[in-house]
Symmetry: C2
Subunit: 535 residues, 2 copies
């Protein structure tokens, strides 16, 4: 990819000419490839990765090394999986009795324990589950490639749905509004305002007369506003929705209206939610594995070989040696010691910071630098899918300023009998508030809040529920971490310390995404492999 | 549903108070129900429908009548299915050798014939199909309820994807731009413009100072623009996308940029495409039956009983009798006559207009009034899903001003080996132009056009293809119809003519949607049943 800024779209020819003039045919070809014009073009934007291969060792007189991986989360599994392709002898030590780390899917029959001893026995029905950790994958993410490679079937995860709601209680809203309605009103009024200002010449310094004409034409369609004679006024549109749908014969449909005033719409703050779906990591389409997110760690573990994973193995000491690494761990009440050439530590930094090591004070300070973030979810299984049958909401997310933050409707099992609503997915103070409660208290609080959106029915027909507080999960103690700044500490842990490497989403620019874990694993695998090849 | 305009959202309490004051407790309760507040609330907006039941005839001394249904498209199947619930003796006459009408899914092994004799033998692989007719369902549509009732599994159909492209050649664009990039730029510049105008006081007549403050706050997030000191300038954002994705270590990602100028963005016309996804019928989420849209007519036919459907039966005469109806048809080369109490004619009006009848000149004139619309599609099966692996496009639609109009990427089979791209789905003059070509010519033309978006690779690796021109389909002769106006002719055909009823999407306000067919069938079934009950 050329370093030159690449104005994708709009004007390819001019750009290619410029590149051709300054960079020669090679640069031009590379650019054409990036744009999808060259025969072997690849328009995607992935960071390149070449998995280690057995053949890499040919002619070099070296063999694959022995590697200890700490943690069977996504980063650890991916590192061992990739190294395994070249014959590395990997062993994963995992404190829990399962793989996946924060990638956990709760199903009927599961036990969910919290620090402090509270235990939930999950009573979800067959085919009902809660992705307690990661729950969505953007289509550009490396996670998609692993699903393809591992044969994990995907389906759409609905991150945006025009029929879901926005509800900002603190802004004075006393009823939820559907996304479609909020967008129609906000886009209607901003189009009206900008059309008025443009027409009145307020922007003549910035706009040519041709710009103005094109802008007014755009605003007319974008806002569904009146014409000049009508003062460009926004007065509502079928985009708001209907109270009675269009049907047959004389049933033209009754458009929901009239819209609230401009002041009411801006006071409601509904527009605050809009930019969420423009984010590179949150824009639709998004995906989820069919049947639960834990299909990913399970597929990685299967591909890697389960015999390489020691569960129930809690690491208690990491010692860097002159020519290797020694790790102590406790399994079934016994302390064991294992040695290897290298170690890849993928535990959360707040957990690593508690494990004695000999890597020095700066490493210890670096591990203690990131700040764990609190987050939690509750899953509410209902015996009917009332959000579909009664409210025409087939997946998606309701955004609120309540302490439940968001309500998620299921992105699978449409039209079936049961389903699971995520009754809260929240962060920070709100997550801490729920974390401090027992599960029944969390449930009651979530229902009280959610009933503000969906009415009293929200509290009835619940057949099972489960809640997770990630800060209260042993061996994890947080949903993810934040770096106060990506300074020297971030750099330090992104380098090997002796024979110890660190890896995880917390060492990437996509924290809290499996993509970050995969990318970090690939980076460390590449570095470790190159080191081994060099000898 | 109260006739009162219903300002859903923003301010429920005030509205309820108003209703309570003027309409009494009953009106207030009904309104609360409509808002989802009452215990048995249903917030959906469906036109009410009560299917006929056997028990309706109790105490009335009447029995279900005999009904001939002309056409086994969605309207005909639905009418017979609903009447069957009450024991009506329905027979469907269908000219083709299959059910579904325009709801047709093309698969490997199918033959597709056109008026004029051209025949395609479809060579698609297993699990690869083309929904030649309807291909998407909005979540509010009655079609969703039939899928639930009939047990037709649904999955998301992707109508909007941030990673798909927009390409307006006639506007001078020389390269496609991704939807995410186009939105970032258009929303960025309109936010900049409106923020400037607002800040400069150009809108002070329309906005209070509080409005202005809130609007500027909204625009800051919506457009990702600079602050006041920066002149509210839009200079690009990660929302545009990346040339190198964010990854691990120091891979912060390379944002795609810089954006083209404001004039270039408006000149490109990309914003013209945006309002499509705000439409009540086109807004995400949308759905498709798993495995092909024809799951719906097949499920209807199964539920109804296939013995009630006579295929290969071309209607040649419709005679209204004093106490019933007589229909002549040709089947296996033989003319047959069948009589019944009532007839429901669901054939397209342009087909019905060619069938002799005794219903009078005004009916004939009415049948000849709607104007058939031309539309067509081509399905391109590729041996690899390059749009996923190389361009990170997992479903969705690319919009163009080329004569291919749109390119659709498949909404199922993600990550598998093969897949089918809809190479054009066009209308009017463009559809007519392709209709006039042989299939190989259509293919060549579609590939020439599509290569402008995807480069030369678009022309390689195609393992099978099929194209349909709905105006060249016998017994159908058009994708749908348009009413020059819904005047006396529309009203006339929406009433029974003697014992003959008409039904179809063409007699609804959702033409070209299965919803319109279902709603029309429900309307006619209700009217016919009420008439029979009255005797």
């Amino acid at each position: 990819m050329p370093k030159t800024a690449e104005p994708q779209g709009y004007s390819r020819r001019g750009f290619l000419t410029r590149v051709g003039a300054t960079g020669g045919a090679g640069a031009m070809f590379a650019t054409m490839g990036a744009l999808g014009l060259a025969p072997s073009a690849e328009a995607h934007t992935k960071v390149p990765f070449q998995p280690p291969q057995q053949s890499d060792f040919r002619l070099r007189g070296r063999g694959a090394a022995k590697v200890l991986v700490l943690g069977a989360g996504v980063a650890g599994l991916a590192a061992a999986y990739e190294l395994g392709k070249a014959g590395y002898d990997c062993t994963i030590l995992e404190a829990q009795d399962r793989v996946g780390g924060r990638n956990r899917t709760l199903r009927g029959g599961d036990r969910l324990e919290e620090i402090g001893g509270a235990t939930q026995r999950i009573g979800f029905s067959k085919d009902v589950y809660l992705n307690a950790g990661p729950a969505r994958i953007a289509q550009w993410m490396t996670t998609m490639d692993y699903c393809r490679e591992l044969g994990v079937p995907l389906e759409v995860f609905t991150n945006s749905n025009a029929s879901a709601y926005i509800y900002n209680e603190s802004a004075g809203m006393t009823a939820p509004v559907r996304w479609r309605t909020a967008k129609a009103d906000v886009f209607g009024y901003i189009s009206e305002l900008l059309a008025k200002a443009t027409d009145q010449g307020a922007l003549d310094q910035r706009l040519t007369s041709t710009d103005k004409e094109r802008l007014l034409s755009f605003l007319s369609g974008f806002g569904a506003i009146g014409n000049k004679a009508a003062g460009y006024a926004y007065t509502g549109t079928e985009r708001r929705g209907y109270t009675v749908d269009p049907g047959a014969g004389d049933q033209v449909g009754t458009v929901l209206g009239p819209p609230p005033s401009l002041s009411e719409v801006f006071a409601s703050g509904v527009g605050r939610s809009f930019s969420f779906e423009f984010g590179y990591s949150q824009a639709m389409l998004m995906f989820q594995p069919v049947g639960g997110m834990d299909a990913i760690p399970r597929a990685l573990a299967d591909a890697l070989g389960k015999h390489k994973i020691r569960t129930g193995a809690k690491v208690t000491k990491i010692t860097n040696l002159a020519s290797g690494v020694k790790v102590e761990y406790v399994q079934h009440g016994r302390t064991r010691v294992v040695e290897a050439d290298y170690c890849i530590a993928t535990l959360p930094p707040q957990i690593l910071a508690k494990i004695p090591h000999n890597l020095g004070a700066s490493v210890q300070a670096a591990l203690a630098t990131p700040v764990p973030a609190s987050t939690g979810k509750i899953g509410l299984e209902y015996g009917s899918r009332w959000w579909e049958t009664d409210e025409d909401i087939y997946g998606g997310i309701t955004n609120t300023d309540l302490d439940l933050s968001t309500i998620w409707y299921p992105s699978h099992g449409y039209g079936t009998r049961r389903g699971l609503v995520v009754g809260y997915y929240n962060f920070g103070a709100a997550a801490n508030a729920y974390a401090a409660l027992t599960h029944p208290e969390r449930l009651a609080r979530a229902l009280d809040q959610g009933a503000k959106i969906h009415g009293p029915r929200y509290k009835t027909g619940i057949t099972a529920s489960a809640s997770i507080s990630w800060s209260r999960q042993e061996h994890i103690e947080g949903g993810w971490i934040g770096w106060p700044s990506r300074g020297a500490e971030y750099k330090l842990l992104n380098q090997p310390q002796g024979n110890v490497y660190y890896s995880g989403d917390w060492l990437s620019y996509e924290i809290a995404w499996q993509h970050g874990s995969f990318e970090s694993a690939r980076k460390v695998v590449t570095e470790l492999h190159q080191r081994v090849l060099k000898g």
